[in-house]
Symmetry: C2
Subunit: 648 residues, 2 copies
C-alpha cells in the first residue's frame, strides 16, 4: 500500500511490480536477509539488487520499514526534485540502495559481479576458522530483465563460475508492458537456466508465504551453483480491477481503484500512515545490530590472529590505495619516461598493468575473449584475470557490481568499437561514480585489415559525451602509464583507456610525466607559436611530423598532446590558457569523428579526422587513403596561418 | 586451402573457422542451398548469413567457386585497399554477401529478420497454388555469437514466432580466442535452444559429409519451429599442428604449417590455383539458372493470375515507393500544417505512422515492449506491428535483416536512452545504408520522473556522430510529419526520430513544410538579426520565448529550427549561409550534451544544454533546475550580442 499510495501522490510510477512482489519481499526481508539498517555499509551484509528497478517503491518501502534512514516524508516525496526516492533506485542517493537500476537486465549482471567479488575476496581474506567474507547476493528480476540479452551473458557466466551464493527471484507474472508475454516471450525459463548450470526451484507460489520460506531455505542450501527461484505472481496483486493486467504496470491505479484495493486487502490505515504493530513487526534494527555485532566479534578475532590481513581488508573496502603507492608510481613513471621505448600503447598498457598489479592487490583484470589482443593479462595474473567470454555488456555491468561490492578495482578489455555493445553499462558506472577501468584497444583505422566493422570512428567522441567518464587516448608508453595511474587513483568515476594496436614512437620532454597528468599539455614548441596542432594517441606522431614540415616553411607550430579532454577541462584557467593561447589558430588531428573537436578549434580552426566509415586494408594504406598524414595536416594548417588567411 | 592461402598472402586474417566449417559449407552449398550465382538479387534465393563473419574467406571461397562475380584476383587481394574481399563480409561490396557481419551475434538477428520478412511477405503475397515467396534462411554461428546477449534476444523471439524456415549451424569447436571455452562458456546449448522452443539436431559430426547431409535434410522437414544444427567441429581442421587450438583462429598459419596442411589434406594445387575438376564440381551456375527459371515460370503464372499483386511485389522488392506517394504526402503534410495542433511529438509520430501505413503497405512497425509509450502502433495495425519484447538490440538487428531481405520498411520504437543497448545495430544499418527507421521517444529530461537512468543526455549527440545516420528531432507535429516522410523516402541509410513524451506547441510559418525538409531553417525572424538562436525539438519553444524576451530588450533575434543536422549539412551553401549568416553570434539550445553544437556556434557562441546526468522530478521542475529556460537563454544570448560584448 505504501507503493500504491506513493505512486498515487506522485501521479506517476509503477505500482504493479511492488504489489506483485510484496509477498516475496516480505519473506526474504523479514526472515532471511542479513542486514543492519543502522549501517548500510556493514561489509558482512547480504546484498540485495532490484533489477526490475521500476519497482523502486517496493525497495523504498522495505528500507523505510526495516529502519534505514529513509523517513516517511521521503516516501511522500516519491519522484520529486531533491528527494531520496527517485523514480528508479539510485545508488549513493538512498541508504541501502546497492546499485542504480532501471535499464533492464543490468541489475542481474551487477548481482553476478557482487557475488563474484564476494567469492574472490573470501578466497583472498578468509582463513581457517575465520569467514569474514561470507554473504549472499539476492536479486529480483522480471520478465523484462530475462528478455534482455545481458541476462543471458551474465547468467551463462554465473553458471559456468558456479556462484552458489547468488539467488535470483523471478517475478513470473506473465505480463510485460505490451500485455501478456506469451506473444513475444515463450521461453521455458527454468529449462534455460538449467542449461546454464543453475539450480532452479520451480513453480513457487509467489503469494504463499510458507511456500516462499521453503523455497528460500532451499536456495540457501549449498550446491555449488547459483539458484533461480521461479515465483508465480500476479502483477498488481490486491487490486480488484487491475491485478494481472498490464494496466497495473506503470501508472497510478486511480483514486477509486486505490480505495477498492484498500478494501480488498483489509488495509485501513491512511496513506503514509503506518500502524505501530506493523512498524514493530518490520523493524530490523535490533536483529541487524546483533548480526553486525556477531560479525564484528568474528572480525575482531580475525584481526587479533591476522592483524595485517585485517588492516588490508579494511583498506581495500575503504577504497584507499596502499601507503607508498604515490611514491612507487612516481618512480615507475619516471622509469617509463627514461626508457622512452617505442611500442603499441596496448603493449604499454600491459606493462602498466603488470606494475600496478604488483602495487595494488585489489586490481582485477579481465577481457571479453580478447586477452591476447587487448593484453589485459600479465605475468602471474592467475586468479586475478577473468575470462568473461564474448560478453562485453555483461563484463561492464559485472565490473560495476564488483566495484559496488567494494574491495576490488576491476578492469576489462575489448576492442574500442565494441564499447557500443557495453555502452549503457559504462553510462551506469559514470552515473554511479564507480572506479571501473575500461581497456579499449584497436582504437581506430590503425587496426587495419579487420575493416569498418572493427574500426572505431565515432566511438572516442561518443564516449567523451558520457558525463563523468574520463576518456584517455595516450600517444606513447609514458602517457599510457600516466593514464593508468590516473584511472586507478580516480575514486569518483570510471575511466576508459583507448589504446593502439599498432606501434607508436616515444615522444620526449622533461616534464611530460607531470604535464600529461593534466590531460593536455604542450608537447613541442619553440615559443611564440603561430599555430597550435592538437592531437591524441596515434595521431600525435602525425602532428609532430607536420610541425617539422611547417617549420621547413617557416611556420612555428606548437603541438599539444591531449590524452584526456575531461581532465584537461578540470584544470585551472591558467593551465588551459597557457596550453591553448587565445588568438592562435588551432587544428586538431584524430582519426575519428571531427565534430566534437570544434569545442577546441572553433569554426575558424580545422580538424583532420574521419567522418565516414573505414575500410579493410593495411593501416598505412588507410591513413594515406583518408588523408590523415603529416603532409595533409601541414597543408591544412598552413591555410589557417594568419599570413595565409584573407582578413576577416 | 583458399582461405589458408589468402590469409597467408594478406599476412592477416582468420583461417581457423573456414577450415573448421568447410565441410558443413560444402554440404550446404553444394547440395542444399538454392541460389543463382549469376543473379545475387533473385528474390527466390535462400539467404545465407555468416554470423561468425571473421571467417569471411570461407564465404569468399564459396562465392568464387560457385560462380559469383568474384574472380580469383579478388581473393588474392584479400584484405587489401579497394578489394571486394574485405576482412569481414560487407554487404553491397561483394555480390552474394547478404549482410555485413563481424560484430558477433548480430548475423543471427539479421537471419531472424530475413526469415521473418520471408514469412510476412509470403503471408501477404502468396496465393493458393502460387508460392512466390518460399525460401530458407541459413546461418553459420560460432561460440562467440552464442555467448553474445543478442543471440538470446533473437533466438528467444524466433522460437516464440516459430520461424521454421530458419536454420542455424552451430560451429561447436570448443575454442574461442582465449582458448578452450569450458572455462567461460559451459552452457548446454541444445538445452538452451529447446527452452526457446527450437528443434535441435544434436551431435552432428561437422566433418562427416553423410551425417551433415542427413542433418540438413532433417532441418528442412517442416515442424513449425526454427532449427539448430549442432555440429561438432575442429577449428583449423586439416592443420597438423594447429587444428583444435586457439592459435588457428586469427593469424596466418605460417609457411611451414601451410605446407604441412597441404600435405595432410593431399592438396597439391598451388595457392589460388584451382584444379578444373574441382571448379567444375562446385560450379552452381547451371543449377542456379534452372532454379531461378523454375521460380520465374511460377512467378509468370502468378503475374498472369494476379497482375496487380505481382507488380506490387516487384515494386516492393525494388524499394520504390508507390506511384502517387509524393502527392499524397504533400497533401497530408499540408493538412498537418493547417491543423497546427499542439501535441507531443510521439503522438504526432503515431498520427504520421497511421497516414503512412495507409500509403505504404511495406511499412512494418514494432516496439521493444513500449508500444503504448512509444506509440508505434496505429488503428488497424494488426499483423503489421510486431511485439519485439524487451529486446532493443535484437530489434535493431532484426530490422536490419528485414531491410536486407527487401520488401519491407521496418521501424521500431524504444526510449531514446535505450538506443545505447542497440547502438551497434544502428551502426551496422548505417554502414550498410539500410532503410530502417528508429522511433526513439522520451527524448530528454522532459520525460520527468523516471529519472537519470531514463533521461537521455548524451544520446542525441552521440547518434549524430554515427556516419550516414540521419537524426531528426522535430519540434512539433509538422516537423514530425516532415521527418517521417524523409525517413521513408530515404533509400541510402537509416533514420532516427527523437520524439518528446511531453506536449509541445505547434509553431507557425507558411513555408515550414518545405523548409523543414531541408534539415534547418529560419523559424522566426524580423530581418537583420543580431543574434541567432538555434534549437531542436522540445527546446524550440524555449528559443521562441527567449526571442520574445530579447525583443522586449530591443534585441532582434532569429530562431533557427534544426530538426536534422545531417540533412542541413547536405544542403547547398546558399541555403546554409542564408539560415546561419556569417558574422552573427549564435546560441544553441538543446537539453543535452553541448559539445557538438560548437560545430554551429563556434567558440565565440554559446550553448544552453546539459552536460551532466538528469534527476527524477516533474519535467517543469527539471527545466528550471537545470537552467534550460527562456529567461536563461535570453540572458546568455544578450551577453553574446555585439552591443554587450567588449570589443575583440
Amino acid at each position: 500500500m505504501l507503493a500504491v499510495d506513493a505512486v498515487e501522490a506522485a501521479k506517476s510510477g509503477h505500482p504493479g511490480m511492488p504489489m506483485g512482489m510484496a509477498d516475496i519481499a516480505e519473506a526474504l526481508w523479514r526472515r532471511h536477509l542479513r542486514h543492519n539498517p543502522a549501517n548500510p555499509d556493514w561489509p558482512g551484509r547480504d546484498r540485495f539488487v532490484l533489477s526490475n528497478g521500476h519497482g523502486s517503491m517496493l525497495l523504498y518501502g522495505l528500507l523505510h520499514l526495516t529502519g534505514y534512514d529513509l523517513p516517511m516524508d521521503e516516501l511522500r516525496r516519491f519522484r520529486q526534485l531533491g528527494s531520496r526516492t527517485p523514480g528508479h533506485p539510485e545508488h549513493g542517493l538512498t541508504p541501502g540502495v546497492e546499485t542504480t537500476t532501471g535499464p533492464l537486465g543490468q541489475g542481474i549482471a551487477n548481482a553476478v559481479g557482487m557475488a563474484l567479488a564476494e567469492r574472490l575476496l573470501g578466497a583472498e581474506f578468509n582463513r581457517p576458522g575465520h569467514r569474514i567474507v561470507d554473504h549472499r547476493t539476492f536479486c529480483f528480476v522480471g520478465d523484462g530483465c530475462l528478455m534482455e540479452g545481458i541476462s543471458h551473458e551474465a547468467c551463462s557466466l554465473a553458471g559456468t563460475l558456479g556462484l552458489e551464493k547468488l539467488v535470483l527471484f523471478y517475478d513470473d507474472n506473465g505480463i510485460s508492458i505490451d500485455g501478456a508475454v506469451s506473444g513475444w516471450f515463450a521461453d521455458d525459463t527454468p529449462r534455460r537456466f538449467e542449461a546454464y548450470g543453475w539450480r532452479v526451484i520451480r513453480g513457487v507460489d509467489g503469494h504463499d508465504t510458507h511456500a516462499l520460506d521453503g523455497a528460500i531455505a532451499g536456495a540457501l542450501e549449498p550446491c555449488g551453483r547459483p539458484t533461480l527461484v521461479c515465483c508465480r505472481t500476479e502483477i498488481g496483486h490486491g487490486s480488484p480491477a487491475m491485478a494481472g493486467t498490464p494496466e497495473a504496470h506503470g501508472a497510478p491505479l486511480g483514486a477509486a481503484e486505490v480505495a477498492a484495493t484498500r478494501a480488498a486487502l483489509g488495509w485501513t490505515a491512511a496513506p503514509f500512515d503506518m500502524p505501530p504493530e506493523v512498524r514493530a513487526a518490520w523493524d530490523a534494527r535490533g536483529r541487524g545490530a546483533a548480526a553486525e555485532a556477531e560479525w564484528q566479534a568474528g572480525f575482531d578475532a580475525y584481526a587479533a590472529t591476522h592483524p595485517q590481513l585485517a588492516a588490508e581488508f579494511l583498506r581495500r573496502l575503504r577504497g584507499d590505495l596502499p601507503d607508498g603507492f604515490a611514491a612507487a608510481a612516481d618512480a615507475w613513471i619516471a622509469a617509463v619516461a627514461d626508457r622512452a621505448e617505442p611500442m603499441a600503447t596496448r603493449k604499454a598498457s600491459q606493462q602498466a598493468i603488470g606494475v600496478l598489479a604488483g602495487l595494488l592487490p585489489e586490481l582485477l583484470g579481465g577481457s571479453a575473449d580478447l586477452t591476447g589482443s587487448t593484453l589485459t593479462d600479465w605475468p602471474g595474473s592467475g586468479g586475478r584475470h577473468l575470462h568473461y567470454g564474448v560478453r562485453e555488456f555483461a563484463m561492464a555491468a559485472i565490473m560495476n557490481g564488483m566495484a559496488l561490492h567494494g574491495g576490488l578495482i576491476p578492469f576489462g578489455g575489448t576492442f574500442l568499437v565494441f564499447s557500443d555493445y557495453a555502452r549503457n553499462g559504462l553510462r551506469l558506472s559514470a552515473l554511479m561514480g564507480l572506479r571501473v577501468i575500461h581497456v579499449f584497444t584497436h582504437d581506430g583505422i590503425g587496426l587495419g585489415e579487420d575493416g569498418p566493422t572493427h574500426q572505431p570512428v565515432e566511438q572516442a567522441a561518443s564516449l567523451r559525451l558520457i558525463p563523468n567518464l574520463d576518456v584517455w587516448r595516450p600517444c606513447d608508453a609514458l602517457e599510457t602509464a600516466v593514464a593508468w595511474r590516473a584511472a586507478v587513483e580516480r575514486t569518483g568515476g570510471p575511466s576508459a583507456l583507448l589504446l593502439s594496436r599498432q606501434g607508436l614512437p616515444a615522444q620526449s620532454g622533461a616534464t611530460r610525466a607531470r604535464d600529461a597528468a593534466r590531460g593536455g599539455y604542450v608537447l613541442a614548441d619553440d615559443g611564440d607559436p603561430r599555430l597550435v596542432l592538437i592531437a591524441t594517441g596515434s595521431e600525435v606522431q602525425i602532428a609532430m611530423e607536420a610541425r617539422r614540415l611547417l617549420a621547413g616553411r617557416g611556420i612555428a607550430a606548437r603541438v599539444v598532446s591531449m590524452p584526456c579532454c575531461e581532465v584537461f577541462a578540470r584544470q585551472d584557467a591558467d593551465w588551459r590558457c597557457a596550453v591553448l593561447p587565445d588568438g592562435v589558430p588551432r587544428l586538431a588531428v584524430e582519426a575519428g569523428a571531427t565534430g566534437l573537436w570544434r569545442t577546441y578549434v572553433g569554426l575558424e580552426g580545422d580538424v583532420v579526422g574521419l567522418d565516414r566509415f573505414g575500410e579493410s586494408a593495411p593501416a598505412g594504406d588507410l591513413y594515406r587513403h583518408f588523408g590523415i598524414t603529416a603532409e595533409a595536416v601541414a597543408e591544412r594548417a598552413r591555410r589557417l596561418h594568419p599570413a595565409h588567411s584573407s582578413p576577416t
